[in-house]
């Protein structure tokens, strides 16, 4: 029972990070019908920027801010310089560009910061909180991670539901032609979507770093699980990203805890296959009618 509680808590924490990355993927998918395979590498790059600043005695919060800004810049540049020119071409093209970005960013991270593993300092204690006599697998840092992800989610919800900017972004993603006719600057909205998504992923990168250590492809695993989470939820659905992220967190935590950590990816794969064989478009996707 004790182990189950601990694994559940770990599941929530890791799931929160997956959800944050998955949310970024959903944002980009909604805006440009593209899956950003480089999301993890982009987040790692931002995290490296943060750790470099922390090494120079900049405070954690300023470093986090710097990581977010780096993410916003990377997102903006990627959309403007790489994705925009190939909009409305073969749908495989953006996927391949994203894979190219993944390779380049990991290589550049390796060139600048080396291939060695690096500790990332956490701003809160990482030792488990004492409940009664035993420690549970929930530290102050874990609570911070959950709160941070929750705040991000709520902020996004407010943006999309209750602001005119969010409405414009949704309109641009949903029907670019009509949005353009209504005076929405569609291009800007798409850029903003990318920037927000990568900014979001950068936060996730910083949040994940103390647990997974930092090296050029440290987010590869996180990225695949987050991607799985986004697909499980249905790439179109922010709620799906949250549910899928937490779900993947539990799967990874339970499989890793009960069956051994080397089976985590296989657990993820099996869940993915089961869900997609019943819902080929994910759990929260509206069922798409076939067009003839």
């Amino acid at each position: 029972m004790h182990q189950f509680v601990n694994l559940t808590l770990i599941g929530i924490t890791t799931g929160a990070v997956y959800a944050a990355v998955a949310m970024g993927l959903v944002l980009i998918w909604r805006a440009t019908r593209t899956v950003n395979f480089a999301q993890g590498a982009m987040a790692t790059f931002s995290t490296y920027v943060a750790v470099t600043l922390i090494d120079r005695n900049v405070s954690y919060w300023l470093a986090l801010l710097a990581a977010i800004v780096t993410g916003l810049i990377i997102g903006t540049l990627t959309e403007r310089l790489l994705m925009r020119p190939i909009a409305n071409t073969n749908p495989l093209n953006p996927v391949i560009i994203a894979i190219g970005m993944l390779i380049v960013l990991e290589a550049v991270s390796g060139m600048i910061w080396g291939a060695k593993y690096r500790e990332f300092p956490s701003n809160f204690s990482v030792t488990g909180i004492k409940v009664g006599t035993s420690r549970i697998a929930l530290s102050a840092f874990d609570i911070y991670v959950m709160v941070a992800v929750l705040v991000l989610m709520v902020a996004l919800l407010i943006l999309f539901r209750w602001t005119s900017l969010g409405l414009k972004m949704r309109a641009a993603a949903f029907s670019p032609e009509i949005a353009r006719l209504l005076g929405v600057r569609v291009g800007r909205m798409l850029t903003l979507g990318w920037a927000l998504a990568v900014g979001m992923a950068s936060v996730a990168g910083v949040l994940a770093a103390p647990n997974v250590l930092l090296y050029p492809n440290n987010m590869d695993g996180v990225n695949v699980f987050a991607f799985t989470a986004a697909i499980l939820g249905g790439l179109d659905s922010p709620v799906g990203a949250l549910v899928g992220g937490l779900g993947m967190g539990f799967v990874v935590s339970y499989v890793g805890g009960y069956l051994g950590s080397s089976l985590e990816t296989i657990g993820g794969l099996i869940v993915l296959l089961i869900v997609l064989s019943f819902r080929p478009q994910g759990i929260f996707a509206a069922s798409a009618a076939r067009r003839v």
């Binding site: 020119p85 190939i86 894979i99 190219g100 080397s262 794969l269």
Partner: protein, 382 residues
């Protein structure tokens, strides 16, 4: 009206990026009606002759290279086989996979297990690996046929991530992280003492590569290839024309997987080992990158991709070491070059190397034709 088409054209199929389809020779002679083709019109004969020429030339060239080059060219051959299958799957049938490296692993481990437990001749090892990988491909294909675009990419990526871990987990069967040892084929005595093991291995790889390319070239130019392209271009229309959607997509996965299985089997023989470290997600992603750089949908693209996968890292390491760059740069330069090339191909160089070469050839042939066209036209009475 038509440009002369060289024999080699037969193995070059329209790439997915090119806007103008170019009909192949067989069809053209059908249109022309009275163009006699005889026995050379049969794909098996024409492509087969080409294959024999390549093998003979390759054999002569192999006589002149060092043992290190033997190893390198074995590696190129292995990649070309895997890439040729990938090219068909992505370029011709329009499905994406990030798991071609994982299927190679299935082939490699099949060979390793057969090698360990059964005493079979090496061609049978390759054949069994191809069959097992093909069956695996059918399974993946059945899942894939229901999925589109990013969903398919996600599943194949998960497979690429999960398979190596499976090998580490069940170490009693698969040898754990160290993998399984593979004893390579014995060099037949009649080849003489100078024929080293590496040389024999590269000869095998070369022959198999040519056979695979030969088979795929025939497939591309046949009705089967057309079915794949029809499904890629318009699923609803393909079905209305009697082409089963799922069946065709599964077939494409099977063919690509058979290629990967053969490649993995040869890889295990060349490396004398089958281990999870050789078949990571990075391999699958590199393969996809290489085929896009080479020219997806074409067989020529697979050859360029294979060369790129072996010689770009070589070049990058040599170059950065000579410039005394830091260890981090040396280790990552090749990766950076792949990534940049990949982006460049999509943005400014559609069709990859093969597409570029075809455009160049077309340009030259137009220049050439415009000079001599008047008398040809007169001669044919057009």
């Amino acid at each position: 009206m038509n440009s002369p088409v060289s024999n080699q054209d037969e193995i070059i199929v329209p790439s997915m990026k090119r806007s103008k389809g170019r009909p192949r020779k067989s069809k053209r002679s059908a249109q022309g009606g009275n163009r006699s083709s005889g026995i050379f019109g049969v794909p098996a004969v024409r492509n087969g002759l080409l294959a024999i020429v390549v093998i003979v030339v390759g054999y002569i060239l192999l006589g002149k290279i060092s043992p290190y080059r033997d190893l390198q060219f074995s590696q190129v051959g292995v990649y070309v086989i895997a890439l040729a299958g990938l090219s068909l799957l992505v370029g011709q049938s329009g499905q994406i996979t990030l798991g071609q490296g994982a299927v190679m692993m299935v082939g490699a481990y099949t060979t390793a297990l057969v090698n360990k437990h059964l005493n079979l001749a090496f061609p049978l090892e390759i054949l069994l690996s191809a069959i097992v990988a093909g069956l695996f491909g059918i399974l993946v294909g059945i899942v894939a046929a229901r999925l589109r675009g990013p969903y398919l990419a996600g599943v194949t990526l998960s497979i690429a991530l999960a398979l190596p871990e499976l090998a580490s987990k069940f170490s009693s069967i698969f040898g754990g992280d160290a993998g399984l040892i593979v004893s390579p084929p014995n060099t037949p005595a009649f080849l003489g003492a100078t024929y080293t093991q590496q040389r024999f291995m590269v000869s095998i790889v070369l022959v198999v590569t040519v056979l695979v390319i030969f088979g795929l070239a025939n497939l591309y130019s046949s009705r089967q290839g057309r079915k794949l392209r029809a499904v890629r271009d318009d699923e609803v229309s393909a079905e209305l024309n009697g082409i089963p959607l799922a069946g065709t997509q599964i077939t494409a996965f099977m063919i690509a997987s058979v290629c990967a299985g053969i490649a993995g089997s040869l890889q295990a023989m060349v490396a004398q080992n089958a281990g999870p470290e050789s078949f990571t997600v990075a391999l699958s992603i590199s393969l996809l990158a290489a085929i896009v750089i080479g020219g997806v949908g074409t067989l020529g693209g697979a050859v360029w991709g294979g060369l790129a996968l072996v010689f770009i890292p070589q070049f990058a390491t040599d170059y950065s070491q000579r410039l005394n760059l830091s260890q981090g740069v040396v280790a990552n330069l090749a990766l950076a070059i792949y990534g940049l090339l990949l982006i460049a191909v999509i943005l400014v160089f559609p069709g990859g190397v093969q597409g570029g070469l075809l455009r160049l050839a077309k340009y030259i042939s137009i220049r050439f034709r415009s000079r001599g066209s008047s008398e040809i036209a007169g001669g044919l009475g057009k």
